[in-house]
């Protein structure tokens, strides 16, 4: 559904949500866009380019208590805290990333902590403009049709507001006095979307991104892994900022009197040295080249079958943040170049791995 809301309606919507919910939205921190708790409308600074750190932490916190235990009594109880919250100002790629995380955490044994929080989260998306790292247009995530409650597109005089859920529709009605969208506004949105496609500086040299798992399956021996492995710090920043990296470690903390404690999960990263190491010292991905190959393959190949989708949404955050400028779209293009020199002769089903 395409409603129209005026600038005033937008203001009322944001103000209403800020007043009635725990509200997280974009602000400017140290000159960069970031998500933060917002308590007043004036703090809200809609950003057209991606936040440096994704919004995943509001659904999958960097540290989250799963269990409280009482050592003396030998008892433990599960903890699943989830306040009603609003995530405001997510871009299309961010919403796609959340849709992937939803699949991950409901696969197999459902993860109550994540799912409860997700259930309690209202998502309002906003339109964006690519910077030099964004390549969502090459991945198919430049626009989004589901996973949000409301999505806002700026047009002359206000916003086109798409409701993606019943909840979103009621919120629009409650706060923003929506009206029918005029044809001119719809035309304008179409024009803007077409124009956006031309603004990308980063892109993947492939027409059909669904072939990326296959392309990657032939690239295990590509020299690019050694090349980027040689400069990577193994710092894990790329994992931290990525909206679809969800690996975690589990840690216990005990009170000073050794009677009570908590078990938490904390973000972990596959680029960190110890990630695949077992007691006794064996490390299954010893070199930084091994670990980067794993991370990139996880984005483009390893999870694709199970979760029916690529795990990179083209936000460019990992490239933007990397101190040594390892750039995911450039690396992928290097691999694509090699695959073009040696055409893929094997049918999709026969690929190894």
């Amino acid at each position: 559904m395409m409603d129209f809301i005026t600038k005033k309606g937008f203001r009322n919507l944001a103000q209403g949500l800020i007043k009635d919910y725990v509200f997280y939205g974009p602000v400017t921190k140290d000159g960069f866009p970031a998500f933060s708790r917002i308590e007043e409308f004036s703090q809200l600074k809609l950003s057209q380019t991606p936040s440096h750190i994704s919004a995943k932490g509001f659904l999958f916190p960097p540290k989250e208590t799963l269990l409280r235990f009482d050592i003396e009594k030998g008892m433990a109880e599960g903890v699943a805290d989830a306040e009603k919250q609003v995530l405001f100002g997510l871009h299309s790629c961010d919403v796609h990333a959340i849709n992937l995380m939803d699949r991950v955490f409901s696969y197999g044994k459902p993860d109550v902590n994540y799912l409860k929080r997700r259930e309690n989260t209202i998502i309002v998306g906003t339109e964006c403009v690519p910077d030099e790292y964004c390549f969502c247009a090459s991945i198919g995530t430049m626009t989004v049709d589901e996973g949000f409650d409301i999505f806002l597109h700026g047009v002359k005089g206000g916003f086109i507001a798409r409701a993606g859920s019943g909840r979103g529709r009621s919120l629009l009605k409650k706060y923003a006095s929506p009206s029918k969208t005029k044809r001119a506004a719809l035309k304008e949105l179409e024009r803007l979307t077409e124009k956006k496609k031309t603004l990308f500086k980063a892109r993947l040299d492939i027409d059909d991104p669904s072939l990326l798992p296959l392309v990657y399956s032939f690239a295990d021996g590509h020299p690019v892994w050694e090349k980027i492995g040689a400069v990577c710090y193994g710092c894990g920043s790329c994992n931290n900022v990525c909206p679809t990296c969800y690996c975690f470690d589990v840690r216990d903390e005990v009170s000073m009197d050794l009677k009570k404690g908590t078990r938490s999960r904390v973000w972990d990263g596959c680029t960190l040295e110890d990630f695949a190491k077992v007691t006794g010292g064996m490390n299954f991905r010893k070199t930084r080249a091994d670990r980067l190959r794993h991370r990139f393959n996880r984005k483009f190949r390893y999870l694709a079958d199970r979760f029916k989708g690529l795990f990179c949404v083209g936000c460019g955050r990992c490239s933007r943040t990397c101190l040594v400028k390892i750039n995911i779209s450039e690396v992928t293009n290097e691999i694509l170049r090699a695959s073009k020199e040696r055409p893929l002769a094997v049918p999709a089903g026969k690929s190894k791995g």
Partner: protein, 227 residues
Amino acid sequence: MVGLPGYGEAPISISSQPSPDMVDLCIKAAGDLTNALHRLRKGDILWVRGPFGRGFPVEEMKGKDLLFIAGGIGLIPMRSLIKSALSQRKSFGRLTLLYGVKEPGEVLFKKELKEWEKRGVEVNVTIDRPHPQWRGNVGVVTTLIGPCKVDELKTSAVIIGPHVMYKYVILSLGSKKIRGEDIFLSLERRMRCGMGKCGHCQIQSVYVCQEGPVFRLSEIRHLREAI
């Protein structure tokens, strides 16, 4: 997953025949958690989650000769399978255990090894290097494979040991012509959740905690990083 509040959890396989009432856990003190487990006394509480993943297809193995190849503490989970086979001894053909350790002091379940022999398991133990107190075989476990007689069409081989051992054992088994579907390996990986989420145990698209830890060689032969 076996754990203690304050120390976390570790993936531990059972070493007795699976039973709903009781299981044996045999745990080497190697890190913080396992050292703390060793300090437990009778009556203390141990925390267990699971079981997770896939074990050995004992039913499918019936009627076959079983060749167990264990290295070091790999005998611990192997014991579970050996005991299962012995409890239905008649359902299996020849049972052979090839067991390699570094030095004589590391031989586990010494009494049981003798008992298993009596009950019809051919037991061959070897130590890596000569040792004054040792009169048996010397050399890595692969040296026991050569002399071993194998009927390749009716043998299932089971390999459990340290990661480094797998490559060499598989190479040596090559001459025995056992099919990849009939060679089983249990893979060790770092595990944090056991539920296919935390990512630690992942080998390419495979979650060892869920789809393993037991795999057929044919399933993982081409999986880079697996062996």
